[in-house]
């Protein structure tokens, strides 16, 4: 067992799980989506990106790219949330909520790709 793999796998899979948790629910229903989950997802994703810096292998490069795509989309979703909800009161309206959730769903795709690469690489390359 390799500690680095455990740590990196933990963060990658946690990002995916949190992302799915945020996206789940009705597309326009504000009550189904929690802004805290979105924020934590961004932080966990940034940690995963940081852990991949310095990897010289091909799969490492691909994982870094997938992480960057997910990060970009999640941060965009968070910014849309801030812009749509300036008072900090009742949250964004249904139209803005739909935008936020669809962007976060895009990030979910990137996270699924990263997880598939991670699992595939582990299964194929070693023991």
């Amino acid at each position: 067992m390799n500690l680095e793999r455990v740590v990196f796998g933990f963060f990658i899979i946690l990002t995916l799980s949190l992302n799915a948790a945020f996206v789940a629910g009705g597309l326009e229903t504000v009550a189904h989506h929690n802004v805290w989950i979105l924020t934590v997802t961004i932080i966990v994703n940034l940690v995963a990106i940081g852990l991949k810096l310095g990897d010289r292998s091909q799969t490492g490069a691909l994982l870094l790219a997938a992480g960057l795509v997910a990060g970009l989309l999640l941060v965009t979703a968070r910014i849309v949330w801030i812009v749509a909800d300036p008072e900090g009161g009742g949250g964004p309206g249904p139209a803005e909520m739909a935008d936020i959730v669809s962007i976060a769903t895009g990030a979910l795709v990137a996270n699924v790709i990263a997880t598939v690469i991670l699992v595939g690489d582990t299964l194929l390359s070693r023991r």
Partner: protein
């Protein structure tokens, strides 16, 4: 005189053929159009109308081609109608004449050949993949083309026989193989076949005529001195000449055949290994043909027979010769010679009853097969080796159930294919031939242990930045790399992949059967034999720096900056207190 290309020739032939029909058309059109424009038309408002030149041309165009729209753009007068009749007949006849000439032209054999040559040259010129020029598409040539196609290597084929090139068109090769019916010893055709093309890897001269082969080799050498030339030659005079040229490899089908026959008898393990490498039918590694030593009878003492005799004598075997035309002074004293065709009587007088085996090596397949029948009757225990001359007789030879059938076009094609695809394999076989037979047996044991019953898969790896980036970085960092470490299976350290390194080529010199401790350097070429799966695993190791590091040290190195930093801290240990 100015030089001409195939395109010039095509244009020239077309112009020459079409000149007269074009003139006829031009003349008929001119007369018809002028006449039509001059003919007085209907009288409208007391004035005679006439056709404009453009209308006349329009009218003539649809009349001469028998389209016939009617009287356009206005109704005709009687004079115009008279002229119309004239226009119709002359125009149609002129067109038929022109079309007939055109059809005649495309059937002209010179035109067809010039067009073929032009298309062929264009195809070769547009090809960017590496290819081989193959001159001569007989038995050996077509077998070689088949082998190249199996290895996805392109070939450009020249043969003087149009029938063979036509046959080429119906073969199902995996890669395009353009062919041209042309004399390959003419430099123009060699140029069209791409002798100066940057993607051309080699030229193989395989025609049945030695003089033509030498001519092709010499022409190719002059046209492109860097090009590798492989030349079939059976005459000693040409061979000496050709071997003096560098970059030219001489392949003598009779010598190769004789070498294989003598190995089958005297070096069965080596013969078996060689046959296994080239993928011969029904060959199993480590199960060589069991040819007895002792007295052998050689039927046929031509060019091939004399080579076989020489090789067998070199291996210390007793040989008796049956041949109707053999001269006694060609052969050393004490050899039993029977001057007859190899029939019952001749075999009996050559003491077939106590012979270990018979080699039927005449140039006639019928003679060889009938000799086999006689041998089976006179001494069923004798080992029977037979030479098959023509590929089309395969079925008869299969039915004859000889102990070993050798076909010289096939052995030649396989030898050339080895030289083209993996020259290190041939060097290895030659190296083993000069060594003690025990080394061959040891290699067979190693290969069997690594591969089991799997068929051989040969591949070579060059330690260059594009093929092995991880290895280049590893070596550039000053870390050593042993050959054995490369063959380690990263999934099951320290178990090894099912492959064996057969040779390492470095700076023009080869190390055969290198030790696993041999340290590799950038630029080395390593030949492996293993399974296709082992190749993909090994290639992954060459590309991934972490896998490479793992197979060398057995420890997994940290990947990201953070863990690398933590690892370095841990290695330094706790800081000593001041």
């Amino acid at each position: 005189m100015t030089p001409t290309s195939d395109l010039d020739r095509v244009t020239m032939i077309v112009l020459r053929y079409m000149r007269r029909p074009l003139f006829v058309l031009l003349f008929v059109y001119s007369v018809g159009i002028l006449g039509m424009a001059l003919m007085p038309g209907r009288i409208v408002d007391g004035e005679t109308t006439r056709m404009t030149l453009f209308h006349a041309f329009y009218f003539f165009t649809y009349t001469a081609t028998t389209t016939g729209f009617g009287e356009l753009p206005n109704g005709f007068s009687e004079e115009q109608r008279l002229w119309t009749i004239f226009c119709l007949y002359t125009g149609v006849i002129a067109w038929f004449y022109a079309i007939g000439s055109l059809i005649h032209l495309v059937q002209n054999p010179h035109f067809i050949q010039a067009m073929d040559g032009f298309r062929f040259a264009r195809k070769v010129k547009g090809n960017a993949e590496p290819f081989v020029i193959l001159c001569g598409f007989g038995d050996a040539g077509s077998l070689l083309a088949r082998g190249l196609s199996d290895h996805r290597m392109r070939a450009v084929i020249l043969d003087a026989d149009p029938e063979r090139i036509k046959a080429l068109g119906v073969r199902d090769y995996t890669v395009p193989m353009p062919g041209l019916h042309a004399d390959a010893s003419v430099p123009k055709h060699l140029l069209a076949a791409g002798v100066e093309h940057p993607a051309c890897r080699a030229l193989v001269a395989l025609t049945n005529d030695d003089d033509v082969n030498v001519k092709i080799a010499v022409m190719a050498r002059h046209l492109n001195p860097r090009l590798r030339v492989i030349c079939r030659s059976t005459s000693a005079r040409h061979e000496a000449n050709l071997r003096a040229l560098d970059n030219v490899t001489v392949v003598d089908p009779f010598e190769i055949f004789a070498q294989l026959v003598s190995w089958a008898i005297a070096r069965p393990a080596l013969h078996n290994l060689n046959a296994w490498f080239v993928g011969a039918r029904g060959v199993e590694l480590g199960v060589p043909v069991q040819a007895p030593r002792g007295n052998w009878i050689l039927c046929g003492y031509g060019r091939m027979g004399s080579w076989i005799h020489r090789h067998l004598r070199a291996h210390g075997l007793e040989v008796r010769i049956i041949d109707p035309e053999v001269e006694a002074d060609q052969i050393d004293e004490g050899t039993l010679i029977v001057r007859a065709h190899a029939d019952h009587a001749a075999l009996t007088s050559a003491a077939i009853e106590d012979a270990a085996g018979v080699i039927a090596a005449t140039s006639g397949d019928g003679d060889n097969l009938s000799t086999l029948l006689s041998v089976t009757e006179l001494n069923p225990r004798a080992f029977r080796i037979v030479r098959q001359n023509r590929h089309e007789n395969q079925v008869a030879f299969d039915a004859a159930r000889a102990d070993l059938v050798l076909q010289h076009s096939l052995t030649t094609a396989r030898r050339i294919l080895k030289l083209l695809i993996s020259p290190l394999v041939q060097s290895l076989i030659d190296w083993l031939a000069d060594r003690d037979p025990a080394e061959t047996r040891a290699l067979v044991v190693r290969l069997k242990a690594a591969l089991g019953e799997a068929p051989p898969h040969l591949w070579s790896v060059r330690l260059l930045p594009e093929e092995a980036p991880a290895v280049i970085d590893h070596l550039a960092a000053g870390k050593g790399l042993a050959l054995g470490a490369l063959c380690v299976d990263a999934r099951a350290y320290p178990a090894r992949l099912p492959c064996e390194a057969l040779a390492v080529h470095r700076n023009g010199a080869s190390t055969m059967l290198p030790a696993s401790t041999l340290s590799l350097r950038a630029g080395d070429e390593v030949l492996f034999c293993g399974t296709p799966e082992a190749e993909s695993m090994l290639r992954a190791t060459l590309h991934n720096p972490y896998t490479l590091d793992f197979v060398v040290t057995g420890e997994e190195a940290p990947r990201g900056y953070l863990f690398a930093w933590l690892d370095a801290r841990r290695r330094r240990g706790p800081r000593p207190r001041p």
